[in-house]
């Protein structure tokens, strides 16, 4: 069941480009943190294609943008254009670190779309277009994605201000002028706070219905004499099976899906803009709200990135505690996800409730250490916020050694050999693992396609190199495997938990003060870890102030949705629901 796992290598320090491409690099900058290569905008596709084909960087993990207007730090590599589009590339075959490419362009300029090299750039480029206004030349479907068409401006730009704008940095002075509490919006007259883009009329506006290209021929083409008509079925945003306010715009013929396009943004709150105004530490509880099932992993990913940027050491016991919490979280997420895949298959509630029973036990443990069941806010820069309460370790050991293995075996016995699960899952939602990686999909989905890519092994963080565990893989890349891989991963998590609980030393849990007055040094960093849903990354840039200059979340739920359309086309409506369920999204993380 397991393959030889990808082994970590030293990160590439040199791009090693061919002579023809050498002049594409207009500057390098390695003074602050990671090496950044600045690429000329018109050459970026050549460089990306070269890195993908010749050097094996097959995963475009992160694509985002920074607005440098008003940046207080140094001018990096003498490139002064305002917007900086950032690409982080990884190799899933080799493992190891990333290559960071930067393309600096003036505002409202265009950059060639990377979708021709990495189809997975689709959603991320749309997000950058939506929030920064960078246009991507050659993008198949460049529309706003998180905001609606009637939104005026591009909110992540530094000069964009919302209707009741107060200040750039929290805590806002106006909230407590004389020790009293006052809302700024109370002082303003009602209404007049909505603006629309120039020449845009809300009354005459109609939503443009756009579809992804149909990649498979509709089945009725064998019988051209039949006069058939396809209909549009709008699954969501208010729909029992979209796991929140998410919309799948489908064109169906009979019950067969001809085209499907995900529409999101109903929960969008511009997490990243708020994050730029918060102090470094204020973002920690805010990460809980991303993937609200897995707040511990979110905490850790953010702490990991900040620690990398600021060079903070983590004490031994805290590292163990983080692993324990993260693996408990993975079990929570995977049992939850299994339950809801089954729910989507029509086994209404029973498997889900059996799975959630174990989740309750683990949430009790979280509550004991952090005071909250879901919004844990447990980690700090340089450790965890407090040590374990009395008796916690014994209770956790009971869960890890006794109860959870039993519960997972029970789920295995109940579900794995189930005829209906097999009939519904086998061969449905197939996409070859190469296509999944090209679509930037990470996490259990690619392991269910046979590729043992797990950041815990490929680029170990924390103390994962000390534990003995396997990366389970399955060969078929269908819904059934996506269900089963989660069960296997939860079983591996139990193994890690047993070792961590056995080996955890005594000692302090927080080095330093936990970052209450942190001023991260100037620079940028991309920190990532293997969250239960895939690669969760935080891309942070600092100019040495108390707030991050840029705070970007590379959320696995959002980017894995790249694959939803291609996976669903040609299957039935009922399958599309389960395919979505097997991607395992949380809308808090998709819409941010």
């Amino acid at each position: 069941m397991t393959q030889a796992t990808a082994v970590a290598e030293a990160p590439a320090n040199d791009l090693a480009l061919t002579p023809e491409l050498a002049d594409a690099v207009v500057g390098t900058w390695a003074e602050d943190t990671e090496t950044a290569y600045f690429i000329a905008p018109d050459r970026i596709l050549d460089v990306l294609a070269h890195l993908r084909d010749a050097q094996g960087y097959d995963l475009l993990s992160n694509l985002t943008c920074i607005d440098y207007q008003g940046y207080g730090g140094k001018l990096r590599a003498d490139v002064s254009e305002r917007l900086d589009v950032v690409y982080h590339l990884y190799s899933t075959r080799r493992g190891g670190g990333s290559v960071a490419l930067h393309v600096r362009v003036p505002a409202d300029d265009t950059v060639p779309s990377a979708t021709s090299v990495y189809p997975g750039a689709n959603l991320q480029e749309r997000e950058v277009y939506d929030l920064f206004g960078v246009k991507f030349d050659g993008h198949p479907n460049l529309r706003r994605i998180l905001l609606w068409d009637g939104f005026n401006g591009h909110p992540m730009r530094k000069d964009w201000h919302e209707a009741y704008y107060e200040e750039d940095a929290k805590p806002f002075r106006s909230r407590h002028p004389k020790g009293e509490y006052a809302f700024h919006e109370d002082k303003l007259p009602w209404a007049k706070n909505t603006t629309y883009p120039a020449g845009w009329d809300p009354d005459s506006w109609q939503e443009a219905v756009a579809y992804v290209p149909v990649s498979q021929a509709p089945q009725h083409e064998n019988q051209p004499h039949l006069d058939t008509e396809s209909i549009v079925v709008n699954l969501g945003p208010h729909h029992p099976s979209t796991h929140g306010v998410f919309r799948m715009l489908t064109r169906v013929e009979g019950e067969t899906i001809l085209a499907l396009e995900p529409e999101m943004g109903y929960l969008h709150r511009n997490h990243e803009k708020i994050g730029e105004r918060n102090t470094w530490l204020m973002n920690m509880p805010f990460t809980d709200r991303l993937d609200y099932l897995n707040s511990m992993s979110n905490n850790w990913a953010y702490a990991l990135a900040v620690e990398k940027l600021a060079g903070i050491e983590v004490p031994e016991r805290a590292e163990y505690l983080r692993v324990i919490m993260a693996e408990f979280t993975r079990i929570v997420n995977h049992t939850w996800s299994i339950g809801f895949i089954l729910n989507d298959l029509g086994a209404l509630q029973t498997p889900a409730l059996y799975a959630i029973e174990e989740r309750e036990m683990i949430l009790d443990m979280f509550e004991a250490v952090s005071g909250a069941r879901m919004m844990c806010n447990y980690m700090r820069f340089g450790g965890v916020v407090r040590d374990l309460p009395e008796g916690w370790r014994e209770q956790a050991a009971y869960l890890a050694n006794d109860r959870l293995p039993r519960a997972l075996d029970e789920l295995d016995r109940l579900l794995t050999e189930n005829e209906i699960l097999k009939a519904r899952g086998r061969g449905v939602g197939y996409l070859a693992v190469e296509d999944l990686i090209a679509l930037s999909v990470t996490g259990p989905m690619i392991r269910a396609g046979g590729l043992a890519y797990d950041i815990r092994k490929a680029e170990p963080y924390g103390i994962y190199d000390r534990f003995d565990f396997d990366i389970p893989t399955l060969p078929n890349s269908d819904i059934y495997d996506r269900y089963y891989i989660r069960l296997l991963e939860a079983m591996e998590s139990v193994r890690i938990l047993q070792q961590a609980l056995r080996d955890m030393p005594e000692g302090e849990t927080l080095g330093g003060r936990g970052g209450y007055t942190l001023r991260a040094p100037e620079g940028e960093v991309y920190g990532r870890l293997e969250a239960p849903k895939g690669e969760l990354g935080f891309y942070l840039a600092s100019d040495g102030k108390t707030q991050p200059w840029r705070y970007h979340v590379r959320s696995p739920s959002y980017i894995n949705l790249n694959a939803l359309g291609p996976m669903s086309v040609g299957y039935k409506v009922a399958d599309a629901i389960v395919i979505l369920g097997a991607i395992d999204i949380v809308l808090g993380e998709v819409d941010r």
Binding site: V233, N234, P240, S241, L342, L345, G346, N418, K572
Partner: protein, 326 residues
């Protein structure tokens, strides 16, 4: 007093029957919620009254006070007619079921079997018309699924009924229950029961064959545009259908009202029938709590490639048995 015999007594009986069935429906929802909860490690309703026994009353009051909403885009007469069309067959199918010795619920007609087949046939109209008149894509898909599914499953259902009919040698259900069967007949009947039950699940749109209203895919299928009492009527129709089909199965396969001393004490007949119906209803709920839903095309394939040939084989063998052994 012919008109008394012909009209008044049956009418009184019918009213009592409707009252009993609707009360039965109300407590069937309670029964199902309680059982489902136990299957799913929960408690189920336990706030309204002792053991939540007043929950159905609370639900009924809620349904009555819901606002009547008729969307603008529907085909109004058909839209309003559909819920009634769904409920009526579920009730009238009871007319021929014997509830005690020599006593059918309403009338001992000599075409009881045909009555069941005919009424089962018109059951799907309510659903199809609801889906069609709602003018909604979800409803339309639900109605299309429903029509195809019910038409398909009526074939094997009919084949099994014909087999039972051949062995019984009478169209009347009263005669069927009171006539005697040999031991091999019982065994042969019970062999068919699991398959008959599967057909009934499909016929009543119960999970795992609840494809016309699949909550996960089609929101509420054919009843998406219905609310208030109109929705409640569909709901009642589904549950009364469960009761009716359970009674039919009890009559066909398990001797209906028969049981120890039921011949001497006539009031024991309905009690035995009730117990058998409750056990069969438990089966419905058990299946719902534990089995996932097949996809629509798999459902149709199962019917045409497995159930129908099986039904044909069963009919052929039954015919041979009826001719040579009876």
């Amino acid at each position: 007093m012919d008109w008394l015999q012909l009209l008044v007594f049956p009418a009184i009986r019918a009213l009592i029957l409707i009252f009993v069935l609707l009360t039965g429906f109300a407590y069937l929802t309670w029964y199902e919620r309680k059982l489902l909860a136990r299957f799913q490690v929960r408690y189920g309703p336990n706030r309204a009254g002792k053991f939540g026994l007043l929950q159905p009353a609370a639900d009924a009051v809620k349904a009555f006070f819901k606002e009547e909403i008729i969307p603008n885009h529907v085909d109004k007469p058909v839209y309003l007619l559909a819920p009634a069309l769904a409920l009526v067959p579920a009730l009238i199918i009871w007319a021929v079921i014997p509830i005690a010795k020599g006593t059918p619920a309403i009338a001992d007609v000599n075409i009881g079997f045909l009555w069941i087949l005919a009424v089962a046939g018109i059951e799907s109209y309510g659903i199809i018309l609801a889906g069609w008149s709602s003018n909604n894509n979800y409803s339309l898909l639900g109605a299309l699924r429903s029509s195809a599914q019910m038409v398909s499953y009526e074939l094997p259902l009919g084949l099994f009924l014909v087999s039972i009919l051949m062995l019984a040698g009478s169209f009347s259900l009263v005669d069927l229950v009171e006539g005697s069967r040999q031991w091999w007949e019982w065994i042969w009947l019970w062999l068919a029961f699991p398959f008959f039950f599967i057909c009934i699940l499909a016929e009543t749109n119960r999970s795992p064959f609840d494809l016309p209203e699949t909550e996960n895919e089609l929101v509420a299928g054919f009843q998406t545009e219905y609310g208030g009492m109109k929705f409640a009527l569909f709901f009642i129709a589904e549950y009364v259908n469960m009761i009716s089909t359970s009674a039919i199965m009890a009559t066909l396969f398990f001797g209906g009202w028969k049981g120890p001393f039921a011949e001497q004490y006539i009031w024991l007949g309905p009690v035995y029938l009730l117990i058998k119906v409750l056990i069969l209803l438990f089966l419905f709920i058990w299946v719902r709590a534990s089995i996932g839903r097949p996809r629509y095309d798999q459902l149709m394939k199962f019917c045409w490639q497995f159930m129908l040939p099986l039904g044909l084989v069963y009919v052929s063998i039954s015919a041979v048995l009826a001719v040579f052994l009876k």
